[in-house]
């Protein structure tokens, strides 16, 4: 009997969950037959089962609802708002009772006659929807869509076994590598390995649930809320098919609910206000989910009154969250971010819906606990968008392994912003009152030494350390210095024992490929133990920078030695970044020195007339926002500011003047001259270049043409009369008359020394050829 009841409860719960959206849709469109049928089927099922189980109250309720709905189905009665509300009230009551049955409690005492009476035609709608109870009831429901039922513990056990299997495989792989094995054994192991990988994927997917499970309850919740508040809100839900770890779904349920409540309560205005503001009477609330890499993004966007950053700041000052001086420095984005501070609510009055004092700070901490981020963007009068970013799953984490002495640790990759060398070009380390401050490209970042936090011995000098710039969820960046950086790995992370977690430093443990245990850090915990204040840092750092920048005549420059050894300075703002390229990437094409950096070919300055030696070349990547050029240099000396007079050069040229910087003269590079002379000549010619491509070659037309066009050519076919500046043809084909020609071959290797053709997938080579052909004109 108990089994039967459990089945009944589970079935009802499934149906209730699915009904959440249906009911609201039915209310909006009472003559929608399909929805009506679904609701009818539900009460009918409940009624049928109740008779069997002897739940007289459930039976009476469902019976009454069934009768009323049957009348509607038979066309004897028109559905109206009163009827919908009455049916909803009954479904809520049924949900309550089912929850009670499930919990094994006594059926709550109560009288249902009021609910039943409300169903009668012409009855007053005094049956109020029980919003809160329903939300709770559905909050407990965690079952999957109607398929087979598995206990969650079983799934977890399978998942953890598979994780162990992966680890065991890794260990076996290591042992196999160490010992001499036959090829057959290796082959068999490879196969096993592939199967395990596949299995892990599949099992990971079984833990995945469509986020729809979370979203179905939303229309009903918004309906009840807006009804209570006298507002009209339309919910638009997208991306319900995005899949997310089951545990994650449970973790974001509360934050999401809270944000939506806020949006309806504080965001969306009353219909009259909306009309006055020139908006549609009905507010729009869009909830969408999408996957981006290994993150899920959930957007909650309303078109309400938005958040007034200034009011937030006033409130924050009044509540003592920040002081006035700090408040004045806040950027608009930071002003908005204040809503995540504890003890801030701009609602004028505390309502039943939100603003109970548990505010967005709770939302943020809940989201951060699962490694997520919550962001806010808002325009007064236009609406607010909240974005939740959460990782796909909790168990497999991409991580970076680092070491102190000979002990290895892992850092979750999601928190890593960048990695720099402590003695790198744009990095300086200073000690202020014992605290480390790293200046990375002009940004001051608190620095902590991992060795110090852990109390471990490090034999690597300060200058040889690596700095990992970390941004813990929700906090501001800090730099962690480590001895060495090793590898990126995907780690199967398991929670560590309580005694280990108690340190606050670690997020879990895992096994490395070599079978030894590795501790995974919690970046926020490291910062805390290291004494870095995460919350106020960004503001403080900006304030520190502010006056320095606004002071008179202070221009930040990068001081460096050019290839010819001259001491030079470049305005920091034009330096995008520093690249190291192999010397082979520098070539003279079309009368100009150019350097290939990644996929881009940049004009190269600073190396004219200088014999290049060594096998690497360091290049500043300068940008004016549109064009980029490279500037070769030998080494960076320091960051500095120009605070002395500049003696201007007599003639315009690469050097605009000389000034004393840090007590020694340095040539100031004229970035404008550089761009004017290196980019100006390669800027788009007024007359577009014409390139002829064989019209019947699908590869050329489909694959090559976009690249050629992107390089600024107009593409024509063979039969065109237009004189072509460039012809591209397959190797061995005849070409017509043209200023220049590029031949493509399909083999990566050239046929011989005289072969000047370009391999068809050598993108960089192609681009370079296209550019120099254009220059030839």
């Amino acid at each position: 009997m108990d089994d039967l009841i459990a089945d009944f409860v589970a079935e009802c719960r499934d149906m209730l969950e699915a009904l959440g959206g249906e009911i609201v849709a039915w209310e909006a469109q009472p003559d929608d037959r399909a929805r009506l049928d679904n609701i009818f089927r539900f009460v009918h099922t409940v009624k049928g089962n109740c008779g069997f189980f002897d739940f007289p109250r459930l039976e009476a309720l469902s019976h009454a609802a069934e009768d009323a709905l049957a009348d509607v189905r038979a066309g004897r009665r028109q559905p109206d708002a009163a009827l919908v509300s009455a049916v909803l009230a009954i479904i809520d009551r049924i949900a309550e009772m089912i929850a009670a049955i499930e919990a094994g409690e006594e059926m709550p005492a109560g009288d249902d006659s009021a609910l039943i009476d409300a169903l009668a035609p012409g009855a007053e709608g005094h049956a109020t929807p029980l919003a809160a109870t329903v939300a709770d009831g559905q909050g407990k429901a965690t079952s999957a869509p109607r398929t087979i039922r598995l206990s969650v513990e079983l799934l977890d056990r399978v998942m953890s076994t598979v994780s162990d299997m992966v680890l065991a495989r890794n260990e076996l792989a290591r042992r196999l590598r160490e010992s001499e094995t036959e090829v057959i054994v290796d082959g068999a192991f490879e196969r096993l390995s592939a199967i395990i990988a596949e299995m892990r994927d599949a099992i990971t997917r079984t833990r995945m649930q469509r986020i729809e499970n979370l979203f179905v309850a939303l229309p009903r919740m918004v309906r009840d809320l807006s009804g209570e508040l006298g507002k009209q809100v339309l919910v638009d839900i997208e991306g319900g098919d995005v899949e997310l770890d089951r545990e994650m779904i449970e973790m974001i349920r509360d934050p999401l609910t809270h944000i939506i409540r806020n949006a309806v309560d504080h965001g969306i205005e009353l219909p009259a206000e909306r009309l006055k503001a020139g908006k549609r009477e009905i507010g729009l609330l869009c909830v969408s989910a999408r996957q981006s890499g290994n993150q899920i993004l959930i957007d909650i966007q309303d078109d309400g009154r938005g958040i007034d950053g200034k009011k937030l700041v006033e409130k924050a000052i009044a509540n003592g969250v920040i002081d006035k001086a700090a408040a004045a420095q806040l950027s608009p984005r930071e002003q908005l971010a204040l809503i995540f501070e504890a003890g801030l609510s701009t609602a004028k009055a505390v309502t039943a819906i939100s603003g109970r004092g548990v505010g967005m700070d709770v939302v943020r901490s809940n989201v951060e606990r699962i490694g997520g981020i919550v962001e806010v963007d808002s325009r007064p009068g236009e609406g607010t968008r909240m974005t939740l970013r959460v990782p796909l799953t909790l168990t497999i984490i991409p991580a970076l392994t680092v070491s102190i002495g000979n002990q290895h640790f892992a850092i979750p990759r999601s928190a890593i912003e960048e990695i720099v060398r402590a003695n790198g070009e744009s990095v300086t380390l200073e000690r202020l009152g014992g605290a480390g401050v790293a200046t990375i490209r002009g940004r001051r970042v608190p620095e902590v030494s991992l060795a110090e936090i852990l109390g471990l011995e490090s034999h690597v000098g300060d200058a040889d350390r690596r700095l990992i710039v970390l941004r813990p969820a929700g906090g501001d960046v800090y730099a962690l210095s480590v001895d060495r950086i090793h590898d990126h790995e995907e780690l199967v992370v398991k929670p560590a024992a309580p005694a280990v977690m108690a340190t606050g430093l670690y997020a879990g443990t895992t096994l490395a490929d070599d079978g030894s245990p590795i501790l995974l850090f919690d970046p926020a915990g490291l910062a805390e133990v290291g004494g870095v204040k995460l919350e106020i840092q960004e503001r403080a750092a900006r304030i520190a920078e502010g006056p320095a920048n606004s002071g008179p005549r202070v221009v930040p420059v990068l001081l460096f030695h050019g290839l010819d050894g001259a001491r030079r300075a470049l305005r920091l703002a034009v330096v995008d970044r520093i690249e190291e390229v192999p010397l082979s990437a520098v070539r003279t094409t079309a009368g100009q020195l150019r350097v290939q950096v990644g996929d881009a070919i940049l004009p190269l300055a600073g190396a004219d007339g200088i014999e290049l030696s060594g096998d690497k070349l360091r290049v500043f990547r300068l940008s004016d926002g549109v064009h980029e050029i490279g500037y070769a240099f030998r080494e960076v000396v320091d960051f500095a500011t120009i605070d002395n007079d500049v003696i201007h050069a007599e003639r315009p040229g690469e050097v605009s003047g000389v000034s004393l910087i840090n007590g020694e003269p340095a040539e100031l590079i004229d970035a404008h001259w550089l761009f004017a002379n290196h980019v100006g000549s390669s800027a788009q010619p007024a007359q577009p270049l014409v390139c002829r491509l064989p019209a019947d070659d699908p590869w050329m037309q489909n694959m090559l043409r976009p690249i050629v066009e992107a390089a600024g050519y107009v593409v024509v076919g063979e039969d065109s009369e237009t004189p072509a500046d460039l012809v591209i043809a397959s190797q061995g084909d005849a070409v017509g008359e043209a200023a220049s020609a590029i031949f493509l071959r399909s083999e990566p290797e050239p046929a011989g020394k005289k072969d000047e053709s370009i391999y068809r997938y050598d993108r960089a080579g192609l681009l370079m050829a296209l550019k120099s052909a254009g220059r030839g004109k």
Partner: protein, 146 residues
């Protein structure tokens, strides 16, 4: 039907662990320290691709520190709340059958033993102190102070 006991020596003293709580007895070779953890956490070790949290029983009972530098140590593997621990002991001796239920020991013990004691059990080799695994895992005075 009497309870089985795993007899081990900790700090030179023969004591009994409830055998039901012990999954296996292993020899640990590598030990990865856990910086900043409570002192009785000797480190982490791997056993059959599982991570074990290694507990130094001596340290936990405030009876000094086990020297782990000489390599292989004997340890009893136990599970608590889904986590696996290896308890470093001097030596694992034998499995015996308890001949009585644990009875309170009325004599005064050392503070560490007092905290971890479940009472005295009679065995065929004489009375033994039955040790509470959870209490050992929780650590000694140093852990509390930390």
């Amino acid at each position: 039907m009497n309870e089985l006991l795993l007899v081990v020596t900790i700090a030179g003293e023969r004591v009994a662990l409830p055998a039901a709580a012990v999954e296996s007895v292993v020899e640990l070779d590598t030990l990865i320290p856990v910086p900043r953890a409570a002192p009785h956490v000797a480190g982490l070790s791997a056993l059959r691709s599982r991570v074990l949290t290694v507990i130094d029983c001596r340290r936990s009972l405030d009876l000094g520190v086990t020297d782990c530098s000489d390599g292989i140590r004997e340890a009893a593997v136990v599970e608590l709340d889904g986590h696996h621990y290896a308890l470093i002991v001097d030596q694992v001796e034998d499995v015996l059958e308890a001949q009585s239920a644990p009875a309170p020991l009325r004599a005064a013990m050392g503070a560490g033993w007092e905290r971890a004691s479940l009472g005295m059990v009679e065995t065929e080799t004489g009375p033994l102190l039955l040790v509470d695994v959870a209490a050992i895992l929780a650590g000694g005075a140093e852990a509390k102070a930390a």
